[in-house]
Amino acid sequence: MMTTMPNIELARAATAGAAEKAATKIVARDVNVYYGDKHALHDVSIDIPEKAVTAFIGPSGCGKSTFLRCINRMNDTIPICRVSGRIEIDGRDIYDRSLDPVQLRARVGMVFQKPNPFPKSIYENVAYGPRIHGLTSSKAELDEIVIMSLKRAGLYEEVKDRLGAPGTGLSGGQQQRLCIARAIAVNPEVILMDEPCSALDPIATAKIEGLIDELRENYTIVIVTHSMQQAARVSQRTAFFHLGRLVEEGPTEQIFTAPQDKRTQDYITGRFG
């Protein structure tokens, strides 16, 4: 049973070494979120490593998506929402008054549960962001960005002959990859994903998971997922949220084989929902 142990031990050592050396991209300290009087998130502090995938797991209503939306200040768009505490990206507080949230949302892209391509062509979906942010000075440069983003999102080969076709005409899985290409096109550093595969079939899900494995070489990724198995497959670190608190956080392999907290173990083994 253990005949491949030497290779497993080498791979584990390499992963452990890499995780220890990885820099921190996002630092959160004592983050609290209120929706009106409802205290939705309590004292969340976490370090998120760069160029790695961090998964947020937990039962419905535990605050994981709320916390995800703090990282690109999407909660600003909710009038009754109030955020306190500190979130830094590369050492800079993203809630600082001098920071432009629109610029932040180019650096920190987001992919949502339900694919939401613009009602535009495939090309325009991807070109819109770079054009708006003034990232290119010629059509040729824009074409290059569109093609590169579609390639990086693993969609180019499937759509290269119909870039003028509507984005909404694609299948669910293709639409989601188009949304990923759209996020990549503005050259983000971080990609936030809120249950990106919930609406997709198993094959489309597998393609997105394969894509996440490739993307983490260049981007810091934070993914909220309901699927424990998905979190175990794609992430290097996992954070478990419950009733608005961060209960436990650590290397994915440790969280899913020997978690420290009983609540984490009960959740991941299906002893409570």
Partner: protein, 239 residues
Amino acid sequence: MTDHIVSSFDVELDTLRSKIAEMGGIAEKMLGDAIMALVRRDAALAQAVIAVDERLDALQHDVEERAVLTIAKRQPMAVDLREIISAIRIAGDIERIGDLAKNTAKRVVAISNELQPQKIVGGVQHMSDLVQAQLKDVLDAYAQKDTARALDVWQRDDRIDALYTSIFRELLTYMMEDPRNISFCTHLLFLAKNIERIGDHTTNIAETIHYLVTGKPVVAERPKSDESSFTTVPVSGQQ
């Protein structure tokens, strides 16, 4: 521990545990009967032990199949995953214990018609008593998820190793004293080695129990005292 939301998962895990317990009971009886057959020179009892081994093999396959199905269906995590992996490992160890008890019984059949120096058979019986106690303790430790008890078994095995070394030395001496002893002593040597190996398998089970409960392997070096690999007995007239 709290029950799973899906109760059939608990049923599957309980079934795995009870199959392991059944295997353990069979292996314990096989070992006890094999030694009783040796002491009483009872070839019929030894043959009965040999026949039982098939049941143990079937149970091991059953445990493995159920474990694999549970992994495929439930995609278990944490303690559930460790429990299922442990069941596969422990079933393998118990099946080997059964094989070793069966081979012991085969040796008993081979020597049952020969004259047996009681002293040396007594030594083998004493070693077997210790091994039987170890097997019982480790199976209890598994049922109760008791790592302290498991580690105690793990520590004690070196006493069995030491006994085996002295039996080895004694058998060499017998063989050198009288060539007519060689056949009997050689069979007894293999028999004693089988029992010593059963002791080693109980320490494997102990290590698995530790992993199951704590999620960590036992990292210390196990105490070992089997020196038979480099034991010699001087021939009279030589240095």
